[in-house]
Each structure stands twice: as C-alpha cells, then as structure tokens.
Subunit: 426 residues, 2 copies
C-alpha cells in the first residue's frame, strides 16, 4: 500500500490494520513526522520511505537544484530514522529526468550508503532513551499516531505549523513517544511508565480536547498525575474549554490561562521574572513561537515567566505539588525549538540531572546511541559546519566536528569516564 | 453623581435611572466614547465632562507638559461634543499645581472659550446626519450604550483596543447611532430607520453575541434585513458561534468565515481581488487592523477581498441580495480608520452617492453642520496643520486651511452651489 497524501479509509494505526493482509506500506517522506508515521505502523513485514524530490519537471528542470532538496529531505528524515527506521528507502518519478543530473545521482548514492550503514549498525535495536516515556494526549490517541494536526501530509499551513513543530521535534528526539486518548485515560488512567504528558492544539479541536476537559474524572486523573511528580507540557491552547470560570482547565497546573474577555477588568501586569531557566539552556531568546496564541496571562505569583512577547506570556514554567509544567504559546519546528521541547520534557519530568546522558550541547546537532550494538552517531541537522560537545554524562564528553548535514559514527566504549577526546573532521 | 472609572450599580442607561432623582452626572472624559457615554445619558438636568489632565503630580511636575495632554484630550472629545455635547466642562485636582503652569491656564481658557462658542452655535440642535441610522448590535443593547468592550473607562488594553476603535470612531461620526440588543430584535425586529447594523467583538462574548447566533429567528431577521437592502458591518469575530458547519453565522452575508480547524484540508488561496474599493477612498493601505483576527477566509468567489494581511483576509466587502456587507479584522481608533468606518457605513447602506454631503476629503479633518442655526465648523483632529476640501455636495466645495488641532466656523449659506472659495488660515 502506498501512503501518500492521506490515510483516510485505511487507519494504519487501527487495531485491524495488521490483519488486512498487506505485505508492506510505502509512504512519502516529507519530514521526520511523516517518516515516523510510516515506520511506526505495526504489523507490516516491512515499511519503505519514498524520499523527496520526486523526479518531476517542477524540480528537475534546467537550472533546478534537486540535490539541495534531496539533502534537506534526508537531513529532516534522518533524525527520525535513527529513532525508528523504515526498512527500505527509495525515490520515484521519471528516471530520465534524474539521469541528466549526475550530482543528484551521486548524492542519492551517498544517502543510500549512509542509510545502509545506519540500518546495519542499529541492527533492529533501539537508541538510548531516558526511562520515562512521553505521551501525546488528544481525542484520537494511538489511532492518529504521528498524524496530529497534520494537513495534506507534510505541507506547510499557517493554522498548523506552530503545532506540527511539536510532532516534528518528537519524531527525532531521544524519548519514547506514545499517543494516548482521553478515553484511554478514562478507562485505564495514565500508564506507570509515562513521565510527561503533552497537550497541544487549538481550543475546540480534537487535538486540544474540547469538552473532554469538562470531565472531572479526566481533570482529577491528570492533576493527580502531576501532583505526584508527573510533567505536563501545554502548547497553544492546552486543556482549553470554558468551564467553571477558567479557560485552560489545567491553568492551576500550567500557571497560566488565556484571557478570552471575561476578566478584562482585572489588572494584569505580567513581566518576565525568570531570565535563565533550565529549559532555555543553549537557546537564544526570543524563542520563535510561530502563530503564537495571544492573551496568555499568569494566574499565580509562582508562575515562572520565561518569555513575554507582544505583551503576553509566550513561555512559562510552573510547579504543582511534586510535579512540573511548561507552557509554550507555539512551537514551529526548528532545531532550536526541538531542543527547547527536549529540555522542557526533562525539566517537567524532574530529570534535569540526567540531561547530559548522551547529549550534544550544540542545538544544531543530536546523537543516537545504540548500547546493544556498541555504536553511536552524531548528526548535524544544519547545512553549516558544526562543532559540539558530545556528553556521555556530566563528567565525560568528547568534542566532535561535523560537515554541513554530516554525521560521525563512534564506538560507545571509546568514551571512558572523564575522557576528553576529539573526532570528526578535526 | 460622578461617573468615573465605572458605572456598576447605577446603570445610567437603565429605564429607571432618570427616576432616581439625580440632578446631574459629571463624568471623566478620556476620549470621544467616554464623552458620549456621559452626554447621551437621558433624563438629567445637565451633564458635565471632567477633562484630562487631572491636576495631580504625575502630570504637573517640573518639566511636565500638562498643556499637551489637555490639547490631546480636547481634540479627541471635541468631535464627540459636536454630535452630542455635555452641558458643562471642567477640570479637577489640586489648583495649586495648575497655578504654576501659566501655559496650561491659558490653554484651558481657550478650550473653555471654544466650548462656549460651539455650545452656543449648536444651540441645542443636532448636526447634519444622513437619513439612515446605524445600529450597534450586541447582547446588551441600549443598556450599555457607549460602553461596549470598554474596560476601566478609556484605558488602553490589548484585548479591546481593536474593537473600542469602532465606538471611538462612531462617537464623532456624522451618523445617528443606536444600540440594540438581540432581544430587541427578537421582540420587535429591526426598526425601520436603521440602515446599517454593526456587530463587533470576540467570539463567545456579549459583544459578538455567542449563542444568540444559533437562534434562527435572529438569523432570519438579519438576513432578511440585508437581503432587502440593509447593510451589515462585522468587525473581528462577528456572528461567531460554531453551528451547522459555519463559525460566522453571517458568513454568507459577509462573504468570509474564520478557519477554526475544521476545514483545514480544503485548499484556500485567497488573494486581494479588489484594489480600489469605495470604502478605501482617501486611505493608504495597509489599514492598521490592530489585534487583527487571524485565519479569515473567503467563502465565495464573489467576495471582494480588499486587504490581505499575514496570509488572511483583513478587509472584505460583499453583496447579499439588495444589501451589502463589510468585514474588518480589527479597527483600532485613528482618524484614518474612523474614515474607513464612515465610508463602509455609507457603502453598506448603498448611499455612497450621498457621501459628499457635508464631507471633508482630508481624513484628519471632519465637519459638523447645524442647518437649524446656520453654523458649520471644520475641525482638525491632528496636531499638524491640515488643508481639506469641505464639500456641501458633489458639485460644491470650499477649501479650508486649519491650524494644528484647530477649527474654523463658517456660515452654511456661504456655500452656494458651485461656489469654490477658501477660508481658514490662508
């Protein structure tokens, strides 16, 4: 089956899909999220990614640069492949068009070689992730895994890109991601291994949750989860449903709510009060919040206001019992925003002391470490040369230099404690 | 009674207010809308405006400039006074502070003189307005006359200024304004003399109307009104209530709707298709829409898209039966935006041929004409010198030159048909 611009009618994450008798799913890879949408489909003999650009005249014309598009596509997909690979990769279109671009042919050969190497060195094992899992909570849960807020595959759309950035970030981050629904929570509570719950979307949509947030069983379950030490990250209009005088039903957890016109006569003078928060490590303010949700206000003096923008709160953190929360007004994908999300996840999980376990300090770079095979790889997600420290832990790191879009393999046991070495293109 | 920052508990536009036995209402004048809020209160022996600045040390300090604030306040209030005057004006605070600013004393003397002259020359009569009335439609109607979307009197607030601009514009425009409620419409329909209905506000608020828009009697009445030749102007999220697949319940009238996440997979490629619309006469694009409502889309190929901004429709016009509509994504007050609203009102009323009756072509200037007393006045709402054509009608105008914030009186009968003269500070 080819999974292209849509999946309607197939439900590849439905319970019955593996029993339909399909051999494989081949899908169009537009970015990391679409790669994971294909590679995570359960029950197939194999999955295959069809990469961009297609060999069509819109890209393969005299003076066109299909090689640049191939590299961009590969760099975006690669970080997702390192978390869960498709089993095969390919390209499609009119071969005669590609044949007249020898640079492109060479580039694809290199990408193919890079893919084979990493597939072999992963050898069916999973890269290092922290013990706690991350759950994306919405009305669809598992059935819409890697499909949240997505429109027409990976196409940019003004209404969604500030939410899709969360999914794109997660597709390549070193965390295990589950998609859970409000009904799951109602039926089974929150699984023991979940450390952080994410809720992102516009008010009134399936992604944010709409009137599920007026269900006291859900509210009680989630607040108990955070109160006992869990993490909650809200993006955009999380938990939004006007009920009992609040718009964000998790506003006491998040420390913020949205002014929708009901409390205009209350004076509100929010200001940044937390200049140097853990989640901002390595980031340059201001964070790009894309189609930032406006009119976000603090509801408590305890709220840590990390970034104000256009007079409102754009990034905030809070604590609630033993747990913690982060609010972000919008998160378009960029390596910097992806790192912000990763650090928010660790902080919300109260696991910031583990942050430096297999961690690259340069936000343009990431690493994937396969402890079972003994291999690790550092990747450069940018098209500029990069240098990064690769931490095994807080005491031990090596310095790595990377070519534009490049990668460097290393043996895990080459990093002894307190070793400081260099590799890459030094 | 002093009407300062609030009116709660008094309801000055309530039916019983005139019977409470008050002699007068004295109110703080922050701008044109607050002036009208005081001057239009029915049933008082007199009303009085208390002007800014108050004689307090925050303005009256060594090096302070209370005169500039006095002029700014007077210029904003004057255009509203010309529509419906308070009967007295005054200032308040510590006289000893004012006494040490002789410039200020002189300025106030001049303002007092200007007020006495215009009050005498109005002599209880009303300035020229077109035959049709304008109705502001919301959930409160008359009870909240000149109080819509207002927070803490005339203070700026991010959430309201893009709506308050409509009220501030109307306070000084040469149109008769009524405030009507949805319940009025349900009980009595739309009064015969209403030419244009305005609906402005955020979704889910009393100003926009929330679930009144799911009431088919209201919808039917309003659509019939427009279909038969009436005008409808929507600002922000007019008629917004998710119902039967539409968010703006008047979307077929307005020609636009807001994308709230339900039709994301429909391709939408709106572009400006009306470069030179009547309502934009004398305006420079782009119109400042303030806290513009985002994600506005056309719902018909007939929609006249006048201004796109950040990828969405910001200003549009449409026709519906014999009637017309205008949509504006936000309207902070400025002389230019006030003119946009006036022209939108005339166009929506299909009265654009009457636009030049007592009209100043320079948007920084306006005129008020008292046909019963034979006096007219041209005012300069800016703090720069201005020159304008003052039209008696399409065939006859004179040129007027005005000092910064200045005004010039003229006798109505000095404009004969086809006369082209000059007055003012030439």
């Amino acid at each position: 089956m080819f999974l292209g611009d849509n999946w309607i009618g197939t439900e590849p994450y439905g319970d019955l899909f593996p029993s339909t008798g399909l051999d494989a799913v081949v899908g169009s890879v537009g970015n990391g999220a679409t790669l994971r949408m294909i590679s995570d489909i359960p029950g197939m003999k194999y999955t295959e990614g069809r990469f961009l650009p297609y060999f069509f005249p819109d890209v393969f014309y005299e003076g066109g640069n299909p090689t640049a598009e191939a590299i961009d596509n590969w760099v975006k997909a690669r970080r997702a492949i390192l978390r869960k690979p498709v089993d095969r990769i390919g390209y499609g279109g009119y071969l005669s068009l590609a044949a007249s671009f020898p640079d492109f042919i060479t580039c694809v050969e290199q990408i193919g070689e890079e893919f084979r190497t990493l597939y072999d060195r992963m050898n069916g094992t999973k890269a290092y992730t922290p013990k706690f899992k991350v759950a994306v909570l919405n009305s669809w849960g598992k059935l819409r895994s890697w499909q949240t807020t997505m429109v027409a595959h990976a196409l940019w759309y003004k209404k969604i890109y500030s939410y899709l950035g969360m999914l794109e970030s997660l597709s390549g981050l070193a965390v295990d991601v589950e998609f859970i629904s409000f009904d799951d929570v109602l039926e089974s509570g929150i699984p023991e291994d979940i450390g952080v719950i994410l809720n992102a979307g516009d008010a009134g949509t399936a992604w944010s949750g709409d009137d599920y947030w007026a269900n006291e069983a859900i509210i009680a379950c989630l607040k108990q989860f955070v109160y006992n030490g869990g993490g909650f990250i809200g993006i955009g209009e999380p938990s939004a449903f006007m009920h009992q005088g609040r718009f964000f039903q998790m506003s006491d957890v998040l420390g913020v709510d949205k002014e929708i016109g009901y409390t205009l006569s209350y004076t509100k003078y929010d200001q940044e009060n937390t200049s140097d928060h853990f989640i901002m490590g390595g980031q340059v303010k201001p964070i790009d919040c894309g189609e930032k949700v406006e009119f976000i206000r603090s509801v408590s003096e305890q709220t840590q206001i990390i970034q104000m923008q256009r007079g409102d709160i754009a990034v905030a953190a809070n604590s609630f019992g033993k747990g913690r929360s982060v609010y972000i007004a919008g998160l378009p994908y960029s390596p910097a925003n992806s790192r912000l999300l990763l650090r928010s996840i660790y902080w919300a999980a109260s696991a910031e002391n583990e942050m430096l376990t297999w961690y690259c300090d340069n936000v343009e770079t990431e690493c994937a470490v396969y402890l079972e095979t003994g291999w690790g790889v550092v990747i450069n997600n940018s098209l500029d040369p990069q240098r990064t420290k690769l931490y095994k832990n807080a005491e031990s790191y090596i310095e790595v230099e990377l070519k534009p879009g490049g990668h460097e393999w290393f043996r895990v046991d080459s990093l002894t404690n307190s070793s400081i070495n260099k590799f890459g293109c030094y």
